[in-house]
Amino acid sequence: MAKDQLMDYQKALDAYEVVIGLEVHVELNTNTKMFCGCANVFGDEPNTNVCPNCLGFPGAMPAVNGKAIENSIKIGLALDCQIAATGRFARKNYFYPDLAKNFQTSQYDEPIAFEGTIDIEVPSGKVFTVAIERAHMEEDAGKLTHVGGSTGRIQGAEFSLVDFNRAGVPLVEIVTKPIYGAGDEAPELAAAYVRSIREIVKNLGVSDARMERGNVRCDANVSIRPKGQEKLGTRTETKNVNSLRSIERAVKYEIQRQAHLLSQGTAIIQETRHWHEDRGATSSGRPKSDADDYRYFPEPDLVPIQPSKEWIEQLRATLPEKPAIRRKRLQELWVFSDLEFRDVVNSDLLDEIDDTVKAGAKPQAARKWWTGELARIANSEDKDIAELSITPTQVAQIAALVESGKLTDRLAREVLTCVLAGEGNPEEIVAKRGLEVVSDDGALLAAIDQVLSEQPDVLEKIREGKLQAAGAVIGAVMKAMAGSADAARVRELVIQRANEL
């Protein structure tokens, strides 16, 4: 694949204005699928959660999942959208082997929610108001696995496998209006926007919001135009960028790539592009024009959705606070500095820390565990921190053990490793592995006496007031106790004992 040439980012921004538009697909975590009673579960054996309906068999008909509609309305309300008095499903017709009916049941000109806004804070602290065009309901497609060939893509594959477990899973697609004026912060804004959407749907409880599982997927539209030009540039749509970091990188890449092309007098092709995390680059997908003809028409097998005003107001009353307001409240509550708080938000750990604090940990302790040790482990294992098998409650339990003096920091890290390895809850691990700090002075004194008796010269030095000599004794005692002692207490006892003997 030919390598794209890129223009220096700063040079690109000096010459061009960036316009972005974001389409975020949120998979709802309803028990069942959008139009049938099949279980909506991630990771089951392929083609086990399927029925005539989601397999698109002849004669099968859709029946709407009421919970999915409720959740979609909640998302619309959380984005300050208007909720349609009449929302209608439409068929989006196109052939693809992962699309059982060869049409997607979606919404077209009558989406359930429209005309919203959301305030997005970027790392610099600047706040952008992003206008939401619409949030509409649709069904997910199945999942294709291309076998054979070197790329794992359909081109060159020997054959492809289709798993329809995901076919018919409810999705809400949230589409922004074009976002102007973000300048050099456009990539950060794109990532921060998706982060906020994720936070909203997670706090609403309507999605598991795990990007690595595709619960939240972003298509990023990017176009640039020479500064001062009225007419919008030709856009590209980078599909399914599945991490916040990738969104930022992909947008930046597209800006630089397009800037280079335009500076060479080459036109941008309107197309979808694929992001390659490994190469840090996008590649050409398929041409996409505004004339792409999906032959939308109202779904005749479903009746329009007409949510009552009363119902909408009931749902509005259940909404959690908005991300921006929540952030302000939490920063004040936790007494974090701006820097500490931004670090938490940018590491995408707000919910984890909030949940850990709610489970009883002190905010600073919760912050240190998540942004420190856990982030380090996730990074070293090249995982998303959300993928680590530890719950905020378990982190809070470890913090509590440290707080009460039962664990040293070193022991606590050991317990953490055991939790991640699936050995159980912290308390159980401490008990099972005998990791608790030895707070029994008797046991400590016996060990100290033993060490002191073996090292009479050191004993002498301590007695003479050369307290730094105690270090060697403390080390030996800690070793004898297999680390399960509080070093400060050992030190106290060593000095006390030296003077008694």
Binding site: P52, F57, P58, N93
Partner: protein, 499 residues
């Protein structure tokens, strides 16, 4: 009189009084099918063993004194676009040859729960696209009144089976007249219920906003009893009506039309209708008047656009409904020559698996939905639909039921219109408006046309949800006619010489 000639409600009484067992009845039916079907091609699949097993079960239950429903033990034929567990379901298409569904259509569940043995699956135009069964991939069904003629379409398999005593009852589906037209040309009764009155779950969709399943029978009471079996709300069909429309069987016991206002649709009489058809139709009206009904004339000017609108909406919906036949999950798979990609396999399969009329409608529908043409075609057609509904609403202010001949002519010759799709489409002029408006319609035999001695049907229409009115007027007119003829319509039918 042979048990085969008995109507379903008579058979039901004989079963209750144990004059006959369901096994005896079912076996007699199957024997007659084995005799006639090789010639008439009414059935695509005959389910001998299944039918007899079901018959045996119902006999056992009856012997035990279990409470059974009215039609329990009466066998029935099912149109082959309704899914049936364990029975091949083809919709008359090569693309589904050999396909055995793992689920039953809701109506099939219903007839099974009422313990009606299934005799087999009846022929139809491919995916119900046609008015003659000539578009069936498995050859046309023949009209028992004249084997050179069509039994109508798309449900010609069901109509020819019921008219030739190969089944006392059958299920049909009606998108633009596919129950009513075959009924008219075979001297049988066919009813298209109000849209949503009967669940469409498991009906292989043609035009989803038009399709409706209904009874095909030899008389009005039988139709009413079958209607009561299949109607009712179904959670599996989002468009199915929440409320019950009452008992059709009760309505069919009506014996008076005194004061009933019958509206003649001006646009559906006179010019363009075969003289013998108009003649029998007029006589039927005179009988109603003599019995105390009042005739009024109504006008539905938008009907002139009905066929044009129908042939945009129905192909548009069909083009989308038939997209799923792509060889990936079920049905025919044809490998193209050379390197196969999924697109090429889909294309080769659809090229080989669909017949000419299906392709014609997919192309038509795809075009009508295309961006830039949508407003002019599909959009305008939907507006016509609204106009037709408005015309009908106005007409029903003046009349309780509307009436017209079901079709402009009696049964046409096989091959007569096959090369002229437009002529074939025009055949549905009288039946299509009911589908576009979602209202119920019934075709009832009113005699034989003098020119050709072939059956003529009259169509009654009622407002949405007023299906009972059709049975009320139908039952009375049927009785008046039978009194006049001193026999029933099918007694006029020629004895079939087949071997």
């Amino acid at each position: 009189m042979s048990v085969l000639n008995k109507s379903a409600h008579e058979l039901a009484s004989m079963l209750v009084s144990k004059e006959i067992s369901s096994v005896e009845l079912t076996r007699a039916q199957l024997d007659n099918i084995d005799k006639l079907n090789p010639r008439l091609n009414s059935y695509l699949t005959v389910t001998h063993e299944l039918a007899l097993t079901q018959a045996r079960q119902v006999d056992e239950l009856r012997a035990k004194g279990e409470k059974l429903s009215a039609l329990a033990g009466v066998p029935i034929a099912v149109k082959d676009n309704l899914t049936t567990i364990g029975i091949e379901t083809t919709a008359g298409s090569k693309i589904l040859q050999g396909w055995v569904p793992p689920y039953n259509a809701t109506v099939v569940e219903k007839i099974l729960s009422h313990r009606m043995p299934i005799l087999g699956k009846t022929n139809l135009d491919e995916f119900a696209m046609g008015s003659s069964t000539e578009n069936s991939a498995y050859g046309p069904s023949l009209n028992p009144w004249d084997l050179a003629r069509t039994p109508g379409g798309s449900g010609g398999g069901s109509s020819s089976a019921v008219a030739s005593m190969q089944a006392p009852l059958a299920l049909g589906s009606d998108t633009g007249g596919s129950i009513r037209f075959p009924a008219a040309v075979t001297g049988t009764v066919g009813v298209k219920p109000t849209y949503g009155a009967v669940s469409r779950y498991g009906l292989i969709a043609l035009g989803s906003s038009l399709d409706q399943i209904g009874p095909v029978t030899r008389n009005v009471l039988d139709a009413a009893m079958l209607h009561d079996v299949i109607a009712g709300h179904d959670d599996m069909d989002a468009t199915s009506l929440a409320e019950s429309l009452g008992s059709m069987t009760e309505a069919a016991k009506n014996d008076s039309v005194k004061g009933l206002k019958v509206g003649i649709i001006k646009e559906l009489t006179g010019e363009g209708f075969q003289a013998g058809v108009s003649e029998r139709f007029q006589e039927a009206l005179e009988l109603l008047v003599a019995a105390g009904a009042e005739i009024v004339e109504v006008s539905c000017p938008s009907f002139q656009y009905a066929i044009a609108a129908y042939y945009l909406i129905q192909p548009a919906e069909a083009s989308s409904n038939l997209a799923r036949f792509d060889s990936v999950r079920f049905g025919l798979r044809v490998m193209p020559e050379g390197a196969a990609t999924v697109e090429k396999v889909m294309a080769a399969t659809r090229e080989a698996g669909f017949g000419a009329e299906v392709k014609r409608r997919i192309i038509l529908g795809t075009y009508a939905l295309s961006s830039g043409y949508y407003d002019a075609y599909y959009g305008s057609a939907q507006k016509v639909r609204t106009l037709i509904q408005a015309d009908l609403a106005k007409a029903f202010e003046k009349a309780d039921v509307l009436v017209s001949p079901t079709a402009p002519t009696t049964a046409f010759l096989l091959g007569e219109k096959q090369e002229d799709p437009l002529a074939m489409y025009l055949n549905d002029i009288a039946t299509i408006p009911a589908n576009l408006a979602g209202i119920p319609g019934m075709s009832l035999p009113v005699g034989l046309a003098s020119e050709d001695n072939l059956p003529v049907g009259a169509q009654f229409l009622a407002p949405a949800r007023q299906d009972a009115r059709l049975y009320k007027v139908g039952a009375v007119l049927e009785k008046l006619l039978e009194n006049k003829w001193s026999k029933s319509m099918l007694d006029f039918a020629p004895k079939l010489e087949v071997n």
